[in-house]
Amino acid sequence: MDKIFAWLDRNLIPFMTRLSEQRHLKAVRDGIISTIPLIIVGSFFLIIAFPPVPALAALVKPYTAQILLPFRLTMGLMALYAAHSIGYHLARSYKLDGVAGGILALAAFLLTSLPVAVEDKGLALLMENLGGGGMFVAIIMAIFAVEILRFAKEKKITIRMPEGVPDSVARSFEALVPAGIIIPVVWAVRHLAGFDIQHAVTQLFTPLVTAGNTMAGVLAPIILISLLWATGIHGDSVVGTVARPMWLVLLDQNIAAAAAGQPPPNIGPEPFFQWFVFIGGSGATIGLVCLMLFSKSAYLRGVGKASFLPGVCNINEPIIFGAPIMLNPLLFVPFLAGPVLMGVITWLAMNFGLVAKPFILVPWTLPAPIGAYLTTGGDWRAIVLVAVNATVATAIYYPFFKAYERKLLKESAQEDSQ
């Protein structure tokens, strides 16, 4: 068992760490995270527009279009916000002007869309490319724009303002040359050469998004997150850096279906893990916390008591470092096996339509049954699934917890007798 931890420490952790610390991936992570408040609030308008209670649903039906407006202009324009925000964060990481990075990224992204003529209204940009579907394009264009900004700055191809010009004015001119490169380049590729960047990128990433929906596609993040946490590294933030763009595309497709009154097609967006697998936090530790509350070991009981409320809110660092689970061979097995089994159960339940697929992003600190109910648009069976999964996890923890408890009791008895 120690060999496993040593192997993880030597191989997996440094690799995943480098990946999550990679400058562009980090900017993508931070950029997308700053759009999450909009996605959470925006997607709640979906629940208001399609409430789970039939009587309410009939009541709001005439106003559905108006109620959906905030959703369409937040979640529905997700890639637009992300492009700006990724550009901002990437520019800042190079110590360049964040606002310049943001607007250049936004322009590069928007230029990949062709406005269409609408009778009597003039030109219109189609929203379909500006939502989750355009996320990968937004990422690529933001990186492209900021790299040009950096290139211009490094090669000192800038228009210099004379001394005495205010800083803010001088800075805005810094973006002039990069804009003069970015805009014609994207225009030439998209409009002159007729290369559909949106379509090509979507095609390129389709296999990835499809894979995210398969059983293997949901188990892989579960295993990686659990392995990282088992050595005490924040697994979700590391794995999320790479997986979140894909999760958001899956979520966007589900939301689009729900907004059209169709059942969501995808199993594997982030709420799958949040509400059905990592109940009480990574490793599905809520059951372990409950076992610890009634432990014969005073130490475990103390940690259990202190970890209970945070655990209900899916914060489980107290138990990971307190029990500890980290680098603990006895608790490592259920910490990994529980979530894997829960992932299999949840995937099967959703695949066979026993439980609705998740489509609403809910703040992650809510207790799991509430989060599961909300994310499935109000499916009571989601609460049953949470209960089943939590029971399964607790059952898997039980024998290992008992063995660990015996070990601690024996150790403290030895200390007392000395």
Binding site: T17, H234, E317
Partner: protein, 101 residues
């Protein structure tokens, strides 16, 4: 003494803030403790802290935190995993004393 804690989202460190404050109250020490998420660290660390402590689950980003803290002249240390629990206040305070001498 002013202590700044950083973790991923500033959530779990909030629990540790309480643990340190409780321990400090027991021993009659005067402390200010604040927790932030990794995104706010670079800006917050400029606010005149005596020490910045990094939660073990974000230790893979230590170099990044160290760089930001170095600019502000604040010493940085990792919180030992055993101390990162609601009962770990004493361990963390002992660690701080060891570092600051």
């Amino acid at each position: 003494m002013k202590i700044l804690l950083v973790c991923s989202g500033g959530m779990s460190t909030a629990i540790i803030v309480k643990a340190i404050e409780q321990q400090a109250a027991k021993t009659g020490r005067d402390l200010t403790v604040k927790s932030v998420g990794s995104g706010e660290f670079a800006d917050t660390v400029k606010g005149g802290w005596d020490i910045a402590l990094v939660a073990p689950q974000v230790r893979h980003r230590l170099a990044e935190f160290q760089a930001a803290a170095a600019e502000a002249g604040v010493p940085v240390a990792l919180i030992p995993p055993q101390g990162y629990s609601p009962l770990g206040g004493a361990i963390i305070l002992a660690e701080i004393d060891k570092i600051l001498g």
